[in-house]
Every structure is written in C-alpha cells, then in structure tokens.
C-alpha cells in the first residue's frame, strides 16, 4: 500500500510540474535591423505615429470566405514578416490601374501582390526604383505620408507649414486630377521624386527613389511618365 501512495505522490508531483503559470516578462534584446519589406525594397519607416503603410493595402475576407485567414506557416517568417494579410492582394486588385507609358531604360519588375507598377533604373552603377501603389482613404494624411518618405532618405520631418508650401509650389495635374509633387534630397545620397494623388476616395503614390544623381537625371523621364498616366473612365 505504501508503494501505491508513493507512486501516486510521484505522479502528482509530475503533473504539478506541468502546471506552469505563464507570466508577464521583461527582457532586453540587441536592437534589430528594421524589417525588410519584400514587396517594396525601400526601408520601412519606424516613425512614431505614422501608420500609413508604404507598400500594401489591407483588407479582410468575408465571413465563411473560401480563403481562410489562417495563412501557411511558410509565409509567416519571423525574420521576413508576412508580406500580406490573406485577402489583401484581392482587395488591392479592386483598384483599376491607370494606363501609362514607361520611358525606355526603365526595366519592368515583377509586381508582387500589391504594386500596380514597378521599374528598376540602373545607370553607371547607380540604381533607382519607380513604384506605383494605391491605398484607400488618405492613409494618415499628406504630412504623415511625406514624412514617411522623408524618413526613408534620412531627412528631418517636414512641418505642416513646409508641407503647405510644397503642395502650393509643386501642385500638378495628373489626367486632370490635382495632386502634388514631392522632391526630397536626403543627406545620405538617396533621394525621392514622387507624386501623391488623391483619386476617387483612394490615394495613389508614384515614387522614384534611389541614388540622388540618378533620380535627378531621371526627373525629366519621370515627368514624361506622369504625363502619360490615364485613369479609366468611370
């Protein structure tokens, strides 16, 4: 009978060992490199309060949708975070792409799940990338969006007054729709020339980012490209 008690007690101890209560814990880790966005090769900003995504739109799926939200584990990499929530590409695809004519020398790139347009420019060892993205709404407002770009080329954020000056001084029309041109020359040799264009409740981002010299040299081509943009008739 004693051995019965002992064995039950041992078993109880083992089960007790399994009852680990999870608790809040705090620890320090070495600073990590900012995550790389596999869709947009530009570095994502880590700005306080700027929630506007640089690359993708978000979307959900319907109740009882055929596409479950549980994504394949292969996509859920801790090192290279999920590129898109399930259904995002489907939602992004709902924005009809405008037509355009890309200048010669711009090498078309795979669009991934979200991009409407993507080109690579390489000249004399310098690189720049042109991307076209669209998001619903104003994605945080023009100031947040411009400052997100500013952060990508290591520039200090613009003040609201500076943004107003930029919008007034660089106002342009794309297919008869008003937008504004953003020119950001960073101190680290990287620059952005882009156009932010509100259109039918969404905001379109046309962006050329790369080595300053090449971005300046391609500014004329970028302007010509923008003049060829035509949105579908609604």
């Amino acid at each position: 009978m004693t051995c019965l008690r002992i064995s039950v007690a041992v078993l109880g101890l083992i089960l007790l060992a399994g009852c680990q209560k999870e608790e809040v814990r705090t620890y320090e880790i070495p600073k990590e490199s900012p995550p790389q966005d596999a869709v947009a090769p530009v570095r994502m900003t880590v700005n306080a309060g700027t929630e506007a995504p640089a690359g993708d739109a978000l979307a959900g799926t319907a109740p009882q949708s055929s596409a479950p939200m549980a994504g394949p584990m292969m996509q859920a990499s801790g090192n290279a975070p999920m590129q898109a929530l399930p259904g995002m590409a489907e939602q992004s695809a709902q924005f009809d792409s405008p037509t355009w004519t890309a200048p010669e020398g711009w090498q078309a790139q795979p669009l991934g799940s979200m991009r409407k347009g993507s080109w690579l420019i390489e000249k004399d060892g310098q690189r720049a990338e042109v991307s076209v993205l669209v998001f619903p709404g104003d994605v945080g407002g023009d100031l947040a969006n411009v400052n997100r770009w500013a952060d990508q080329v290591d520039m200090a954020p613009l003040t609201p007054q500076e943004l107003i000056s930029m919008q007034e001084g660089n106002a342009i029309e794309v297919d008869k729709h008003p937008g504004f041109l953003v020119e950001l020359t960073g101190p680290s040799g990287q620059s952005i020339a882009g156009v932010i264009l509100p259109y039918h409740g969404a905001t379109w981002f046309f962006k050329m980012q790369g080595d300053t010299e090449l971005v300046n040299a391609e500014a004329v081509n970028f302007g010509r490209f923008m003049s060829t943009v035509r949105f579908p008739e609604h």
Binding site: L11, V24, E51, G60, P68, A80, G137
Partner: protein
C-alpha cells in the same frame, strides 16, 4: 491485502489499460485527419479524457468521409495522461506485489525501471518540451531568436535605448477580454477589449465595399447572405470594430479612444474559424487599451500578428518614453546568433526527388567565445545551449532555411529508458539461457 492495492497491482488492470491505449491510438489516428497532429496530440494524448465521435470516425474506416450527421454520437475515452498515470501506478504496485529480490530477477527489475522511466519522461516531455522555428536567409543577417507560430504574445517595446530594446511580453493566455494586466516594470497597464485567435485585419471602407459586392452575387447562399448583411450593417454604422465569424459585431468603437491603425485607417478585425492544419497557423488579433498609473485610458490600439513589414509599428508616448505595441508570434531570444552561409537542396540526378537538405551555418556565441561552422542535415541536428536545431524545411526558392528549435531538458531520458529495457531483457534472456543450458546438461546421460 488491501483491496485498493490489489486492484492497482493487478495484471488484469494492465491488460485493460493497454487495451484502452490501443483504442485511444486507433481513434486518435483517425481523428488526426480533422485536427492535425498537434491538436490531436493535445486532445487525445495530453488530456485525461476525450469525447471521440466514434461513429463518424468508424465510417471513415469503411471508406467514407467524416459524417457530421453522426458526430453527435461521442464516446468518452480515457486520455493519454490518465492511461499513462494509471499504467505507471499499476507497474510500480505490481512490481512490489510480485517482485521478490533475487539476482535471478535483475533483468526484470531493469526492464521495469526502464518502462517507469519511459512513462515519467513521457509526462515530462509533454509538459516541458518547447518547439519553435528559426528562419535564416542565405547571406542574411544573423538571427538570435526563434518563433512559435502556434503561440502569440502582446509586446510593448521601449526603443529609447541606444543599443538595446526593452521588451515587455504578455503571453497569449493572459489576453482575456475584460482583464486588466499589470506590467510590473512599466508605468502602464493593459486592458484587453477583444481577442480573436484567428482573424483578418481590414480597412473598414474596403471591407464594406467588398461585402457589398459579394452581396450582389446571386450565387451567394442565403446563410452567407445573412451573415454578410449583418456585417455590412455593422460596417455602415461606422461602429463595428470586431466582427464575428457570422458577421455579428462583437466589439463596437463606442467611446474607445482609438489610435494608430484603427483610428487612421478605420481598421476592423474580422474573426475567422480557427485552423488546426499542420501547415497553417492562425493569425490572432487583439484590441487593447493602455491605461496610465491612475487607470485613465491613454488610447486603444488594434494589433494583429499578421501585421508585417508593410505596417509600420504602432506607438504611444508615456512618461517621456516611446513604446511600440504589437501582437506577434511568440519569440524566444538566445544569447547567440546563427547565420546561414548556404542551404543545399540536393536531388537524385535527373529527378525531382529530394536526396538531402542541409544548412551550412555559422554559430556565433560571443559570451562563450564560440564561432564555428556547423552543418545541419537529416539526423544530424545541432545541439547547443540545451537546444536542438533540426533541419525542418526551406522557403524562398531554396534561399531560406527553416530550422526547428526544440528545447527539451529531458531529451536523454527516453534513450536511457530504452537502453535500460534492452539491457534488462538481454540480462534476463542470458539468465534464462544459462539456466536452460544447466538444466539440459543435468538431464543429459553421462
């Protein structure tokens, strides 16, 4: 003899328990097609009892599919913990009831000790073993953490340090709606407004448009149409923050002072049914309020483990510090780094049949002055710092290696147990053989 002891030490009980074990394994194996291996393990073998839909599962044996109409008929079965525990008690009691100390029974004693150790280690492994995955890219940055895609954590990260980030991790098990979580090392508290184990996060306007378009589709079945209509009503009101799987609004914006993604992009969480498939992971999402020291709400944030590099971190300021807030798959950090030099995916010549997967890595542990190349391949894991790194899978056109990281403090116990059983059986065989030979020799005519 005490009747309780008589029952627990009876060989009849052993037979009954082993018979139940076979039945449990039988139904557990069948049910694995529905639940995947991990959930089946939890339901059948890491539990004290299980209600198994026997008729539906037996119909599968007869060649049919799982019949939901018969799933109501469930029979209770003892779970793995109950059977294992009873077997352990039974074995120990039987040993003391029938065993008489003698060198002739050394083998039996060793074999019993091995089986006891095997059962004990089985329990301990179920409780103590942790599995996660480490993704390392060829030529990528060294990695010092692994990720458990079956678990999640809410993290508040103080990024004000120059070289280090201070991470406060709240385990998923504490994220219960309505609960207020104290954070001992932070001046703020977290109140959980809603938690969904699997959900998509959406821009409300997008989702509304998507559902309205789906409603135009005449092929949508009536039941789904009702759910969509309910979801559309919630979204149109502008109040829906969390939608249930059936379209019902589970959490309204109400007076929540929304910030970040929810405020700026009209973020909405759409709950989805949980998946238990082995190759899928659920994507949890949560809405939390951050409270200051006086219990006043600083703001409410919507975060999802599905937010990757496309969504910049959501932040809040308090007490002169900036904190990132995120829900992510649970991470374990290590004091060493692993860098992938080369991943090999060899195939048999002229075929697509895989011959070998291997990862050539550099293991770098500055604290111990370790920096050495290691090759990880099938049956040759890396064992380091109490962890075992197995070659599990690969991705990104063979440029990313996925290592399974297993922490199991008793991983040697089953080996020792099997050795004991084997040794005991050998010894017992030798003793019996020598006895047999002696008997034979005695009986042989001179």
């Amino acid at each position: 003899m005490n009747p309780v002891f008589r029952i627990f030490s009876s060989l009849g009980l052993t037979v009954v328990l082993l018979a139940f074990s076979m039945v449990l394994v039988f139904f557990g194996t069948l049910d694995q097609s529905r639940w995947g291996i991990h959930e089946t393990q939890r339901l059948y073998f890491e539990s004290f009892y299980v209600l198994t839909p026997a008729l539906s599962l037996l119909k599968m044996v007869a060649g049919g599919s799982f019949d939901l109409n018969l799933a109501w008929f469930k029979i209770p079965l003892p779970g793995g913990f109950l059977l294992g525990g009873l077997l352990l008690v039974n074995l120990v009691c039987a040993h003391f009831r029938y065993f008489k100390a003698s060198w002739k029974k050394t083998g039996i004693a060793l074999t019993h000790a091995g089986v006891v150790l095997l059962l004990v280690s089985g329990f301990l492994i179920a409780f103590l073993q942790e599995e996660s995955q480490m993704y390392v890219d060829e030529g990528g940055v060294p990695v010092n953490f692994s990720t458990d895609f079956r678990d999640a954590e809410l993290v508040l990260i103080d990024t004000s340090g120059e070289d280090v980030d201070r991470v406060t991790s709240i385990p998923r098990s504490l994220l219960k709606p309505g609960s207020v979580i104290e954070l001992p090392e932070l001046p703020v508290k977290v109140r959980v407004e809603a938690y969904t184990p699997n959900a998509g996060a959406a821009i409300g306007a997008n989702l509304l448009r998507h559902y309205e378009q789906m409603l135009q589709n005449p092929q949508v079945p009536p039941a789904q149409k009702r759910e969509l209509t309910e979801a559309v009503d919630g979204l149109k009101s502008g109040e829906a923050l969390v939608l249930g799987t059936e379209g019902r609004t589970l959490l309204s914006k109400g007076t929540l002072p929304l910030k970040g993604f929810a405020e700026r992009m009209g973020g909405v969480i759409q709950e989805q049914p949980e998946s238990f498939q082995d190759n899928e992971s659920n994507i949890p999402a949560v809405v939390v309020s951050i409270l200051d020291e006086n219990g006043e709400t600083i703001g409410a944030w919507m975060v999802s483990a599905g937010f990757g590099g496309n969504i910049p971190p959501q932040t809040f300021d308090y007490g002169g510090q900036t904190y990132q807030i995120a829900l992510r798959f649970k991470r374990d950090y290590y004091p060493f780094w692993i860098q992938l030099k080369d991943f090999s995916h060899d195939k048999y010549p002229g075929t697509e049949i895989p011959r070998n997967y291997s990862s050539d890595i550099i293991l770098n542990d500055p604290g111990k002055g370790v920096e050495r190349p290691v090759k990880i391949y099938m049956n040759h894991p890396l064992r380091y710092a109490g962890l075992t790194f197995f070659q599990q899978s690969f991705a990104n056109n063979d440029t990313t290696s996925i290592l399974m990281v297993v922490r199991n403090p008793v991983w040697t116990w089953p080996y020792i147990a099997v050795l004991l059983v084997g040794l005991g059986m050998c010894i017992q065989f030798c003793i019996s053989l020598s006895r047999f030979i002696r008997r034979e020799q005695k009986g042989r005519p001179a």
